[in-house]
């Protein structure tokens, strides 16, 4: 019973982590930009959907679609306005996007989105019993969405022409130019796709609780943790990282006590990286192998 509980919710937690980090990982894999505005975009989508549904009384589905589109547009805009002038200076990219993310989050705080009333509707209500453990449909849906998106992402970057070209560009711009893709356009697209994925994640995960601003900061940390553990640019790594952390958390929480959850989580990252510095599935950038 307890084991079933751990297995089921470990899976749920892994899916939540994977979904949360997916947008960040995609953007990094396609354009090499570490988008530290990820958390800001995530919450932006959540709040936008809430405002549209509760203030303008739009149907939930419409509000969700609009929120995803808005996040994607903003992602592209961030590239155009903020990232393009500092393209290639990694530190400036990180700081600029981090500042954008914090600005988004704190703008919502200033506008008074700090109270406890921001609740997104789950896609489906109710729960079902799996081997004696009751799980709600929303969590099962999260697993499903996570799986579908991860598979889609893998297919997109490995099998489609445009995906391959985009990925090629992250390594070598000439290749991409020869396929006829303009570098800036592609990078903007990768930011937009990443932001869109962040929005999808927000709309499926946020209904589990209520929306609050500090979640935005946590989301960025989760995205970093998962992708670093798995290897920054790899979809397989993303899934592996999410599973390791998700189950590590659930196991720790059940058998060691929840207060150890984050300590174990952090220790796992530090340990993995100390042994395999570029993450589980990342391309190694160690000295020995560059010679």
């Amino acid at each position: 019973m307890e084991l079933v509980n751990v297995l089921v919710f470990g899976l749920v937690n892994s899916a939540v982590l994977a979904l949360t980090a997916m947008g960040f990982s995609l953007t990094f894999g396609l354009s090499g930009v570490a988008n530290f505005a990820h958390g800001g975009l995530y919450l932006l989508a959540g709040y936008t959907s809430w405002i549209l549904a509760n203030r303008l009384n739009l149907p939930f589905a419409v509000s969700a679609v609009l929120a995803v589109i808005l996040a994607a547009l903003l992602g592209a805009l961030i590239y155009r306005l903020v990232l393009m002038p500092v393209r290639g200076i990694v530190l400036s990219e990180v700081i600029a996007t981090f500042a954008v993310g914090v600005a988004i989050l704190e703008l919502f705080r200033w506008m008074g989105f700090v109270t406890y009333e921001f609740n997104l509707r789950p896609f489906v209500k109710g729960s079902v019993e799996i081997a004696g453990v009751a799980v709600d449909y929303q969590r099962i849906l999260i697993i499903g969405i996570g799986l579908v998106l991860a598979a889609g992402l893998w297919y997109f970057t490995r099998r489609t022409r445009i995906g391959l070209a985009l990925r090629g560009m992250a390594q070598d711009e000439y290749t991409a130019l020869s396929v006829g893709i303009e570098s800036d356009w592609a990078a903007a697209l990768s930011l937009a796709l990443g932001a869109g994925l962040a929005a999808v994640a927000a709309l499926s995960i946020l209904p589990l609780g209520i929306i609050s601003i500090n979640i935005g900061y946590d989301v960025l940390l989760i995205a970093l943790a998962v992708t670093v553990l798995g290897g920054l640019e790899s979809t397989t790594g993303l899934v592996a990282g999410a599973f390791i952390l998700g189950y590590a958390m659930t196991f720790t929480s059940t058998y060691l006590g929840p207060q150890w959850m984050e300590a174990v989580y952090m220790a796992a990252i530090v340990l993995v990286l100390a042994v395999k510095p570029s993450g589980l599935f990342g391309k190694s950038k160690e000295l020995e192998e560059r010679v």
């Binding site: 530190l91 981090f98 984050e262 300590a263």
Partner: protein
């Protein structure tokens, strides 16, 4: 087609101290030209504590925090010149802060003893903590260092050591604010000029070489890990000092000593000021911290405005303010008629 017009021409004044080339200072005027900017900074910083009646207690406190962040920024800049990009300066700060708290709580030492002791011991401890991950490069090293302070925080929270979530309060204070100011300002100045001098020696050359091309350094018979460890130790010194110092200033140390702000602020200071110059790091801190204080008037909007400034600076002056000023100081512009250009 023939275009006529004027263009601006930039000329180098050609007076620089300690460049890679051989140089000679010819006259008093040129000596003054070189020394004046440095002297002005040192004098005005050292004069600051004397103005306590004019500026009041609050701005003195701001000065303390500014210098603290400047120290952490200097530490960041030194690490970066060996090629280690840290996203976790809070580690140094927190280790120093907690060591000072621990030493004075357990052994009852005075701050005059705990500060130097925890500065050195803290730097050693940080070096030991970071040693296994020194072979990581680029963003991976950054992300590990990002995680380490958070890990420390969680460890203290989970194990309840060193006061757990409550922290240690009621620690002994330093004599008075003037003393504190002189201590921290001197530390910042010594680090800024000392680091600059250090990087100009052959030793510093080796450190810079490790960042540029570690393969050749290795083939030159130099143990990279060992030199990186030394660099981490040196870089940790100002950080642990800052932590120990603020612990005694506030007579309190707690989990927020590992707070994200202590990682982010130094980093942004360097980016604003200009990396690799040390003076830029200090300048950045002296812009960002007071700016953030001035912006307090805006309440919760403050952070948004602050972030906007940050974005503008990073986009507008990617080389950093210090390099910009330096260039302007060493060059003069004049307008010359444009030669005929055939297009």
């Amino acid at each position: 087609m023939v275009k006529r017009g004027y263009r601006k021409e930039r000329l180098d004044r050609g007076i620089k101290a300690r460049s890679d080339d051989i140089f000679a200072i010819a006259s008093w005027r040129e000596t003054l030209y070189l020394i004046l900017p440095r002297a002005a900074v040192i004098v005005s910083l050292l004069a600051f504590p004397l103005l306590k009646d004019v500026l009041g207690h609050y701005w003195q406190n701001v000065m303390l925090i500014t210098c603290t962040i400047a120290l952490l920024a200097l530490s960041w800049d030194l690490l970066a010149s060996v090629g280690l990009v840290s996203l976790g300066q809070a580690l140094f700060f927190g280790v120093g802060a907690y060591l000072a708290g621990f030493l004075s709580r357990t052994f009852g030492w005075t701050p005059l003893l705990t500060i130097p002791a925890s500065t050195v011991a803290g730097a050693l401890l940080c070096t030991a903590i970071l040693f296994p991950v020194l072979r990581l490069r680029g963003i991976y090293f950054g992300l590990i260092t990002f995680a380490l302070p958070l890990l420390m925080m969680r460890m203290i929270e989970a194990t309840k050591i060193l006061g757990g979530t409550e922290g240690l309060s009621g620690l002994p204070p330093l004599p008075d604010i003037t003393f504190e100011l002189y201590l921290v300002i001197t530390a910042a100045l010594v680090c800024a000029f000392g680091f600059k001098r250090l990087m100009d020696t052959d030793y510093g050359l080796v450190l810079r070489a490790i960042r540029d091309n570690d393969r050749s350094v290795l083939a030159s018979g130099i143990n990279i890990q060992w030199y990186k460890a030394q660099a981490v130790f040196i870089a940790a010194l100002p950080g642990t000092f800052a932590g120990a110092f603020l612990t005694h200033h506030y007579q309190f140390v707690g989990m927020p000593a590992f707070a994200l702000d202590f990682s982010i602020l130094p980093l942004t200071s360097v980016v604003i000021g200009g990396a690799g110059t040390f003076a830029g790091a200090v300048l950045g801190a002296f812009i960002l911290v007071p700016l953030s204080e001035v912006l307090r008037a805006f309440g919760t909007l403050r952070v948004v405005i602050y972030c906007s400034f940050l974005i503008i600076f990073t986009i507008g002056l990617p080389e950093g303010i210090f390099r910009f000023i330096e260039r302007k100081y060493h060059q003069f512009e004049r307008v010359v008629p444009l030669e005929e250009v055939r297009a």
